[in-house]
Every structure is written in structure tokens, then in C-alpha cells.
Symmetry: C2
Subunit: 217 residues, 2 copies
């Protein structure tokens, strides 16, 4: 029995917003001024009505017969997602995935700025990864307290994930982006977003196994 006090979810819509944003930025770069949901839907293989419903969540209004002003729409989505301000984050786990995420330029576009990397492997501590020196886990508390970093990214092996989360939360982190395949148990007020790649692989595997190949992306 789960009591959901306020029913603001709209999760599927939120997941689609970055795709709209990316397309709009491409169109803006091509000097487009307006775009209709018909065009957006065709490009992203969605239904026009769904695009309109999605965009309305950001509060934007369009012009009948013309569509939406692209710069205003970009601004509305970025504001809604909070991506026009910088959010500082720390990353825990300087393995392959952690290193890749650090090197990924795309995050900056979404306002995410990784300011420090931690690992509890002495062999990794002190090494440079994409311009950042790997710090020992003992320094998490001091750094988060000093910089008031809100977000922690967890890219450690599964067995170390809960402990990493505990350390982050104790230090004052309130949002965790969890790339490990374990469910983190966190106190109220701490937000967790799971990004386990095996979910996606499971979907791909099933779609391919299905004799009737429908390519609903």
C-alpha cells in the first residue's frame, strides 16, 4: 500500500525532453526560427499530439499555423530541466565507465560540471583523469562540505555501491546518479536516478528475439 502524496510524475515526458532539446539546437544551428509539432514528430518518430502534450509541460505556448519559436522553446526546456545553470557533481569510481563519463563533453551542455573524482583504490589515487587528480574516499566529506556539491555520480563495482552512497549522503549529497546495478537504500530527501545499462540491453535482447520485429524506439 503506497500513498503518493503529490502525483507529479510525467516521467516519460521528462525522458523525451532531451531529444526535443537536441533537435531544436540542431535546427537553430541551421537558422530555423519556428518549428511545428508535425516536423518534430516526424524527425523523432513520435506522434504530433504527444509532442504538443510534452512541450506544454514546460509552459511554452505555440502560434497556430506557425508552430513554436525555436529559441523560446529551447529556453523553456532548459529552464524546466534546470540545464541553463551549472550543477556541480563529484564522481566516485575512476574505472572505465567513470573515466568515460569524465571525458564526455555532453554533460557540460546540460550544466553538469564534475569537480572531483574519488576512488578507494590506492593504485588509482593521485593519478590524473581528464585533468582531475583522483582523490581518496576519505576526502569526500571535506570537499562536499566546502563546495556544497549537490550531486554524486556512482560508477563503482556493484559490491561497493551502497557504501559509496552512504559516504556521499553522510557528506551532504542530495542527488545520486547511480550507474551500478544495485538498488541503493537512501534516506528520505535523497534522490536516486538509476542508469543501469543492462536494462537497455535487456530490451534490445527481447526486441531481437521477438519474431515480429517492431522498431518502436
Amino acid at each position: 500500500m503506497k500513498v503518493n502524496p503529490c502525483k507529479v510524475s510525467k516521467l516519460p515526458t521528462i525522458r523525451r525532453l532531451p531529444a526535443y532539446l537536441h533537435l531544436l539546437q540542431t535546427l537553430r544551428a541551421e537558422a530555423w526560427k519556428f518549428v511545428s509539432t508535425t516536423v518534430i514528430a516526424e524527425t523523432l518518430e513520435l506522434e504530433p499530439i504527444q509532442v504538443r502534450k510534452d512541450l506544454s509541460l514546460t509552459g511554452i505556448v505555440g502560434k497556430p499555423r506557425v508552430g513554436y519559436a525555436i529559441p523560446a522553446l529551447i529556453d523553456a526546456i532548459e529552464t524546466y530541466l534546470g540545464w541553463n545553470a551549472t550543477t556541480e557533481a563529484i564522481l566516485v569510481g575512476a574505472g572505465h565507465l567513470g573515466t568515460a563519463l569524465l571525458g564526455y563533453k555532453g554533460f557540460a551542455q546540460h550544466g553538469l560540471h564534475v569537480v572531483a573524482v574519488f576512488d578507494n583504490d590506492p593504485a588509482k589515487v593521485g593519478q590524473k583523469v581528464h585533468g582531475l587528480t583522483v582523490l581518496p574516499m576519505e576526502q569526500v566529506a571535506e570537499l562536499v562540505a566546502r563546495l556544497q556539491t549537490p550531486v554524486g555520480i556512482i560508477t563503482v563495482p556493484p559490491h561497493a555501491a551502497q557504501e559509496a552512497a552512504d559516504t556521499l549522503i553522510a557528506a551532504g549529497i542530495t542527488g545520486i546518479w547511480n550507474f551500478s546495478p544495485v538498488t541503493l537504500h537512501v534516506p528520505e530527501g535523497v534522490v536516486v536516478q538509476n542508469e543501469d545499462l543492462s536494462s537497455g540491453l535487456a530490451v534490445l535482447s527481447r526486441k531481437m528475439a521477438d519474431p515480429a520485429r517492431h522498431n518502436h524506439q
Copy 2:
């Protein structure tokens, strides 16, 4: 107006199966023999009834008062996902993310085996990445034809994604795991699974912006 010929989706369930699998493997390593949906639900922060509905998709049946036999359940999920057989894949785009995915040991557990890496950057061609030599894109066709590789992983920059997909499809690839933030246009019969990280970041951003912090993972 979209006509869906057969309505086999169950996507949310399929997304959760890897989490069940991971937990079950942990329990098995701890010498557990049986597990109830009550225990699974508590660990994964789900509802017992949802766990039962999900597991029933794989065809497994449990024993009242006892739960499910762990080895049989693991086997049922792996079979359902096709993860007990090896699937060969090639990867296009030897950048940060591509390199990280190659180094990620987890895929082997899910039966995914990357047999070749491609890139159209001459500076990258010929270099070794996690034991594989980066090949030029011109060799995709020959290799896929020879090895009959079913899956292609796309980790190229956005502007190169559609062309990469076209090359893969022309070579005979029928499943694409797309890590770029663009919607790939593919012919019928080709399956695409999008794995754009910015969707997850969008959800995290909104959850954190929300004054009422509900941590529904």
C-alpha cells in the same frame, strides 16, 4: 493513427528483469536456495505483487509458502532474455564512451561479446583498445558478412550517428544499441534501442528541482 499488430510490450517489466537477475546471483553466491517475492521486493524497493507479475512473464512458477527456486529462476530470466547464449557485436566509435563500454566486464555476463571496433578517424585506426585493433569503417561490410554479427553499438558523435547506422544496416546488422542522442531512421526489421544518458540526467534534474523529494527509484 498507429496500428500495433501484436501488443507484446511489457517493456517496464523487461527493464526490471536485470535487477532481479543481479540480486538472485548475489543470493546464490551466498548459498540461498529459495527466495520469496516479499524478500525480493524489499531489497529492490518494489511491491511484492509487481515482482510476482514480472517473474511470471518468464514462465517460472513458484511454490506457495516457499518462494522460487533460485537456480531455476536465474535460468528462466537468462533464457527469457537470451543471455545464456553469446551474442556477437561490433562497436562503432572508439571515443571515450566506446572505449569504456569495451572495457566493461559486465557485458560478458549478459552474453554480449564485442568482436571488433571501428572508427573513421585515421588517427584512431590501427590503435589498440582493450585488446582490439580499431578498424576503418570501410571494413564493416566485410567483417559483418563474414561473422554474421547481429548487433552494432553506436558510440559516435551525434552528427555521425545516422551514417554509422546506415553503414551497419547495409552490412546486415539487425539490432542497434544507440548511445547517441539522435533518433535513427531504420528500415523495418531493424531493431533500435536508444541509450541516451541525457534522459536519465533530465529525470535526476527534475527530481532534485522538485520541492517534494520523493525517491521513487
